[in-house]
């Protein structure tokens, strides 16, 4: 059942993400976005829809079953819309290509210097891997496979700071949202902070458990961490492609080292590796392993419109300062650093003119 959910999850995410990218950036949707962009954008839509259904159920005091039904309805509507948008975009692209072919401009798009990323993705598929690239790719895939198997098979979960499983079990058992204290099972007397109540992940997990008939433990401790792990690597692939667009071997090395670092970095609470291997269901893990790396990829590629997505998703899954989370801090800091870098880059030029040397690697 877990495999079935995973199989459903990826094409669904891809379809929703593709449609979203078409809407957000139709002109460049084909040439400047990768398949992992579509997957990640899609999963963000899935989380966003869950938040919508969760808030509706929470505010109206409705049951978990009502949440599941509303969520399904949202998904069906969005899948239908996404299919329509995708087909429309496909037809439009085909028409444009045909028009270009007729006008003897078939190669115009590939000659466009802005479409450099497409060259690279095409090259990734078309050009054969050499021996060292195979080694790097194999190391990456083996490490990822081992991690996914470990997450699915083991129940090595860090429980100390978390009540997700108890919350999900309570939701499923009572068919209600936040009616009882998850740690004791007794009805709330004083209640709980609203800022935590509005976060959608426990409800989403409970809805999945209820709909697919999988135990809450199976969903929270095994299925979701495996999906988080996969999406964390999609974010890393996006980053690798952005950082090492000219050299596929180094991009693959980057991925292999990242996978190794996930293993190495699981020594302490708060580390990315630790979160992925022992708490992939937590909002903070999704933030540090999926949202933030993807945000860096978007910042580096200057995809301003899509940057809003991880920021919004963070507000749905993690307690933020009135919706302004660490994602906003990352974006602000990134552009501040870029501005400082620009200023420093101007400085040494003047200094060079004066016969002095610039010292920082950041300013050349």
């Amino acid at each position: 059942m877990i495999a079935l959910i995973a199989v459903i999850c990826f094409p669904l995410a891809c379809l929703l993400g593709n449609a979203l990218i078409q809407v957000v950036d139709a002109k460049r949707s084909h040439s400047e976005y990768f398949w992992e962009d579509r997957l990640l954008a899609g999963i963000f839509v899935v989380i966003g829809l869950a938040e919508g259904a969760h808030l509706m159920a929470l505010m109206r005091g409705r049951s978990l079953l009502a949440f599941t039904k509303t969520y399904l309805l949202f998904l069906i509507v969005f899948v239908a819309l996404s299919t329509g948008i995708t087909l429309f975009a496909f037809r439009r692209r085909k028409r444009t290509d045909d028009a270009r072919a007729e006008g003897d401009n078939a190669n115009a798009r590939t000659d466009d210097p802005k479409a450099g990323t497409t060259h690279f993705s095409k090259a990734l598929l078309e050009k054969r891997l050499d021996k060292k690239e195979w080694i790097a790719l194999s190391a990456f895939l083996i490490l990822v496979a081992v991690q996914i198997v470990l997450v699915i098979v083991r129940s090595a979960v860090f429980l100390e700071y978390d009540v997700t499983l108890e919350t999900v079990v309570s939701f499923v058992k009572t068919n209600a949202l936040y009616s009882v204290d998850p740690l004791t099972g007794l009805p709330y007397v004083q209640g709980m902070p609203m800022r935590l109540k509005i976060l959608c992940l426990p409800t989403l997990y409970a809805g999945l458990s209820q709909f697919f008939g999988v135990s809450p433990e199976g969903v929270v401790w095994h299925l979701i961490p495996a999906i988080t792990l996969a999406f964390a690597y999609f974010a890393d692939i996006s980053l690798a492609r952005t950082l090492f667009s000219k050299n596929r071997f180094f991009a693959l090395c980057f991925l292999a080292i990242t996978a190794l670092l996930v293993f190495v970095g699981d020594y302490g609470y708060g580390m990315e590796g630790f979160g992925l291997l022992h708490g992939g269901f937590q909002g903070t893990t999704i933030r540090i392993a999926v949202l933030v790396p993807y945000l860096f990829s978007l910042c580096l590629r200057k995809k301003y419109r899509l940057m809003l997505l991880p920021v919004l998703v963070e507000a749905c899954i993690v307690w933020t300062l009135y919706g302004i989370g660490m994602g906003v801090a990352v974006i602000a800091l990134f552009f501040a650093a870029a501005y400082v870098r620009k200023l420093l880059a101007r400085g040494p030029k003047k200094q060079d003119e004066d016969g002095k040397e610039g010292t920082s690697w950041a300013n050349s």
Binding site: V264, G265, A329, A338
Partner: protein, 288 residues
């Protein structure tokens, strides 16, 4: 000799358990700075990483970031703004790129790669951080068997009071069971998830159960170094098991599991005093 070797091995593992990735991060940033590595987007990421790292280390800016992320999360999560894994990976690849350009000596390059890999592997525990996370499958199986044995009358909601090990997993295994107190009794930071509070009576009952498990008796002396949330019972006084169990029953508990370490004589004494029957259940005493 074997013991010495074991101690040395465990000691080394304990030593390399914390903070090694940060050392690699600083090394990578330093090498990138000195060798002027990277170009374009790589440099953008590295410069951002350098600035963000400084912000996370400097106490004043770290406090600001902690306020930004709400005080709900710990200091560790301030490091969310530093793409630690991506930064280190990017830095290592750039260093590798530089080293590969140092001429054509395959054996030396291979040796260097192995050396770098060894350093990296020695920096963590490779998916096995035993002191904070354990595979709880076996433990949960055991508790699940206990909970199954408790269910006799489906119509009645079970309110359980049991040793910590059972209480810890009871709610996540069976949503129908209610507990006298939850994990937030001893994991204080979990109290951030709700406004609920425990009474002093509940806290005393938790203390008694923890001590009874250790002493293996019904009447337990309160140690001076007792570390509990809330007001601790007076050090040196004795907490009486029978009165504690009576109190729990008054609070609505209808299933009491006592630690199996309590002697049979004490249990018989308890049966006489309370007029209840007990039976041995998976290493615990169950009051009926």
């Amino acid at each position: 000799m074997g013991e010495l070797l074991k101690n040395a091995f465990l000691g080394f593992r304990a030593m390399n358990g914390q903070g090694k990735l940060f050392a690699i991060l600083f090394l990578v940033l330093l090498l990138c700075f000195l060798w002027k590595l990277g170009e374009g987007k790589q440099k953008e990421l590295l410069s951002y990483g350098g600035v963000a790292t400084v912000l996370c280390i400097c106490p004043a800016t770290a406090v600001l970031l902690m306020l930004w992320q709400t005080k709900f999360y710990d200091y560790e999560f301030v490091w969310t703004i530093v793409p630690l894994t991506a930064l280190i990976s990017c830095g290592i690849v750039l260093v590798l790129e530089r080293l590969l350009s140092f001429g054509d000596k395959p054996k030396q390059k291979l040796l260097l790669a192995f050396f770098a890999l060894a350093i990296l592997l020695l920096c963590g525990r490779l998916g096995n951080p035993k002191w904070t996370v354990t595979n709880v499958s076996a433990q949960r199986k055991e508790v699940s068997a206990v909970l199954q044995s408790l269910k006799t009358d489906e119509a009645q909601t079970i309110c359980l009071w049991a040793p910590k090990k059972v209480m810890e997993h009871a709610r996540s295994l069976d949503g129908g069971i209610t507990l006298l107190y939850g994990r937030n009794m001893y994991q204080e930071h979990l109290n951030a998830y709700s406004y609920e509070e425990y009474s002093q009576e509940q806290r005393d009952l938790y203390v008694w159960m923890s001590l009874a498990e250790g002493y293996g008796t019904l009447d337990v002396p309160v140690p001076a170094d007792l570390d509990v949330v809330g007001e601790a019972p007076e050090a040196g006084s004795t907490m009486e098991g029978i009165s504690c169990i009576k109190k729990a029953l008054e609070l609505g508990v209808n299933r009491v599991l006592l630690p199996g370490s309590i002697s049979e004589e004490s249990i018989k004494e308890l049966e006489q005093a309370l007029g209840v029957k007990t039976e041995k259940l998976e290493g615990y005493w169950l009051l009926r």
